[in-house]
């Protein structure tokens, strides 16, 4: 049987058109603010990347693509790019694993699950600066709680942030633990949108719990995966606050991300033009990764 598509009546269409115009007016102020505080700085920032401005002086000269050429021969920038990928990918993986695991566990009708959900989500509400400071105090060599525990078990005090690999691992862990609540919420919403009848049907067909998860839950969670992964990836690639507080990019330059290096280069090294070129490069990196991730994750989308 075929059915002709329903056409809206003329009156309904007129109403929709008028409604659309009204809606346009409503978002106009937001659009203006967005243009003033986001688009203008963006364009201005790109313009700066072609100058040798020091960040405060009135003097500046056009230097063409010199700043971009310098990026390719700068070992510090290469280190920052490598770290940025570690932060982005590392945080994303940990947040997906913990976020999804917690979402599945807390989707079940357990006593006190609302309280546990709130506890997992609460760190998201804390400023990363404050969270970083709390961990910094815990990780201090003298008077730090971690070292107190180590000493209590007969060990020797450690300089936790003195080794670059350890410091990078700590930064990834701190950021992931703080923001896994966001992934949990996204996956919880996704799980609750999957109709129960699919699981009933799968049970009748003899599917095990693992098979139900693999062939029902995972495919129908694709939109949640896409949202959570892209958000976490962008957050990880832009990581700034926790690094500034815990290591300030050190020892040496070994834990710099591109974001922290931009800040250091702009304000401390007084090379605003070069810092802007780094910003453009980071922008390009995130754009490319976001588009690829959207393509990959979007192609697997399954309608429930």
């Amino acid at each position: 049987m075929t059915t002709a598509p329903l056409k809206p009546s003329r009156g309904l269409r007129r109403s929709a058109t008028r409604g659309g115009g009204y809606v346009n007016l409503l978002y106009l102020p937001a659009l203006v603010l967005f243009a003033v505080f986001m688009i203008y700085p963006l364009i201005s920032g790109i313009g700066l990347a072609f100058t040798n401005w020091n960040g405060y002086s009135e003097a500046r000269s056009f230097v063409g693509f010199d700043n971009f050429a310098r990026l390719f021969s700068d070992p510090v920038f290469a280190t920052a790019v490598r770290n940025t990928f570690i932060f982005g990918i590392g945080c994303t993986i940990i947040q997906q694993v913990f976020g999804l695991g917690l979402a599945i566990a807390l989707d079940k009708p357990l006593r006190g699950r609302s309280t546990v959900r709130a506890i997992v989500y609460l760190p998201v509400l804390v400023s990363p600066i404050i969270m970083g400071t709390m961990y910094y105090l815990l990780l201090q060599y003298n008077d730090g709680a971690f070292n107190d525990v180590v000493v209590a078990f007969g060990g020797e005090r450690m300089a936790w942030l003195a080794d670059s690999s350890m410091a990078i691992a700590i930064i990834v862990a701190v950021n992931s633990l703080q923001f896994m609540g966001i992934s949990m919420i996204i996956y919880l919403a996704g799980l609750q949108s999957i109709p129960e009848m699919y699981y009933d049907a799968a049970s009748l067909d003899g599917a095990t719990t693992w098979q139900q998860f693999r062939y029902v839950t995972v495919p129908l969670l694709q939109p949640a995966f896409a949202t959570s992964i892209v958000l976490n990836l962008i957050g990880g690639l832009k990581l700034f606050d926790v690094i500034k507080i815990l290591t300030n990019g050190g020892p040496g330059y070994s834990t710099q991300s591109v974001s922290t290096l931009i800040s250091t280069t702009y304000f401390d090294s007084q090379s605003a033009g070069y810092a802007s070129a780094m910003g453009v490069a980071l922008f390009a990196i995130i754009i490319v990764i976001t588009i690829i991730m959207n393509k990959v994750l979007g192609s697997r989308k399954v309608e429930a």
């Binding site: 688009i39 060599y141 005090r157």
Partner: protein
């Protein structure tokens, strides 16, 4: 629909990543009655800030109609000032903290015609006056420092600080004091690794090297020699185990409580240390050289106040600066530093013996901070990080020196 989504995604990502890379240009000071905005650069609880509040009240009482808007510094004073200069919203008066000439002079009024200008001490001429003899700020004090030490710690280990004349002597002293509870050199990597380099480096450059640096050629061997010394200290276990996480406060506390024998940093560390332990027996000594030149102290502009060349009230601002010059003895004493004017009297309290020993008796030369004269403006960060690289073993002195040379070349190119 897809294209709208794509454009939205691009715009979002773009703005989130680049929003911090722009400059604005809105200007204009608040108009109206005569109000002078005075950015002090002091923390709220600084001794200098407390005194400044009293002086401002006194000035306002004798200058009806003039209000001095006294502002304490935030945690990132230098970056805040750069943003205000870029935005064209500089305060009427601000603390130039060592950079009145190299960084801020294009934004400041020349003040050599002021009544106090001829009284500025001679040793500041090199870093505060330009070739035309112009000076852009009133120095209320000067920062003179050397190798800071805890005399009680040295005495307990049988070390005479006055007997340390070479780096070999220093190594012997460090070996003598090194123990589980005392670090020969206590340094905070994040705040003051660069302070160590900035003080030691003048002793590895001879006059020819310095002339080359001024001409635009980075002298790699001399800089690397300084970092070799630093690496040797690290290899010998002289640095504190919490070097990577130690803050400026940690340094002051360690100095005050006898956990540190030596450290490198600004004279402000003395005040901080005495706030933890007023009875700490502290002093400073000149820094040895490797070139055969005599030992030296380093010094230069510390607290200095300049007037914006965009101020709408230059006469009132100059009158206030002149009033501060008249009170320089008190301002310098509040910072436990020598005054910046010859007309003021030195009241250094517990630091007086060190000053008398080295400045009066021995007449040790006071060299300017290396980075303010021989490195281009903006090199400090690189000096800080490259020293940290060597101390933490992330790189060799040769690699760190190469990085420093790269910074020197690019910043000189940027300023030309």
């Amino acid at each position: 629909m897809k294209s709208i989504k794509a454009i939205s995604a691009v715009a979002l990502v773009a703005t989130l990543t680049l929003a911090g890379c722009s400059s604005g240009a809105n200007g204009g000071d608040a108009g109206g009655d005569v109000t002078i905005e005075f950015q002090t650069g002091f923390a709220v609880d600084d001794g200098e800030m407390t005194l400044m509040k009293e002086l401002v009240s006194e000035f306002e009482a004798s200058n009806q109609g003039v209000t001095i808007d006294l502002i304490a510094a935030g945690t990132d004073y230098e970056s805040d000032m750069k943003v205000r200069l870029a935005a064209g919203t500089a305060p009427d008066i601000w603390n130039t903290h060592g950079w009145s000439l190299l960084r801020y002079s294009e934004f400041l009024l020349p003040l050599e015609d002021q009544p106090w200008a001829d009284d500025v001490i001679d040793s500041l001429d090199e870093t505060m006056r330009n070739d035309a003899g112009e000076i852009f700020a009133l120095p209320t004090n000067i920062d003179i420092s050397g190798l800071i030490y805890n005399a009680d710690v040295l005495e307990a280990a049988g070390v005479d600080p006055y007997g340390i004349e070479s780096w070999d002597d220093f190594d012997d002293a460090a070996d003598a004091v090194n123990s589980d509870t005392v670090s020969p050199i206590y340094q905070g990597g994040k705040p003051l690794a660069g302070a160590l380099a900035d003080r030691v480096v003048s002793g590895t450059f001879d006059d020819d090297d310095l002339a080359e640096m001024l001409d635009g050629s980075f002298v790699t061997p001399a800089y690397e020699e300084m970092l070799d010394l630093v690496q040797d200290w690290g290899d010998s276990g002289y640095f504190n185990p919490d070097y990577s996480s130690a803050s400026r406060d940690d340094m002051a506390k360690a100095l005050a409580q006898g956990q540190a024998a030596f450290m490198y940093g600004p004279s402000l560390l003395f005040d901080n240390a005495w706030s933890f332990n007023p009875d700490a027996n502290l002093g400073f000594m000149p820094i040895p050289t490797t070139t055969g030149a005599p030992r030296y102290l380093v010094g230069g502009e510390r607290t200095a106040f300049g007037i914006s060349n965009k101020t709408e009230n230059p006469d009132e601002a100059k009158a206030f600066i002149a009033f501060l010059a008249e009170n320089d003895t008190a301002l310098a004493a509040a910072s436990t530093s020598p005054p910046g004017l010859t007309t003021a009297t030195m009241e250094l309290g517990k630091l007086q013996p060190s000053f008398e020993k080295w400045m009066t008796e021995e007449e040790v030369p006071v060299l300017p901070y290396f980075d303010r004269v021989y490195l281009p403006n903006g090199s400090w960060e690189s000096m800080q990080v490259t020293t940290d690289v060597v101390i933490t073993g992330q790189g060799t002195p040769a690699q760190a020196t190469e990085q420093m040379k790269s910074t020197y070349d690019s910043l000189r190119g940027q300023s030309e």
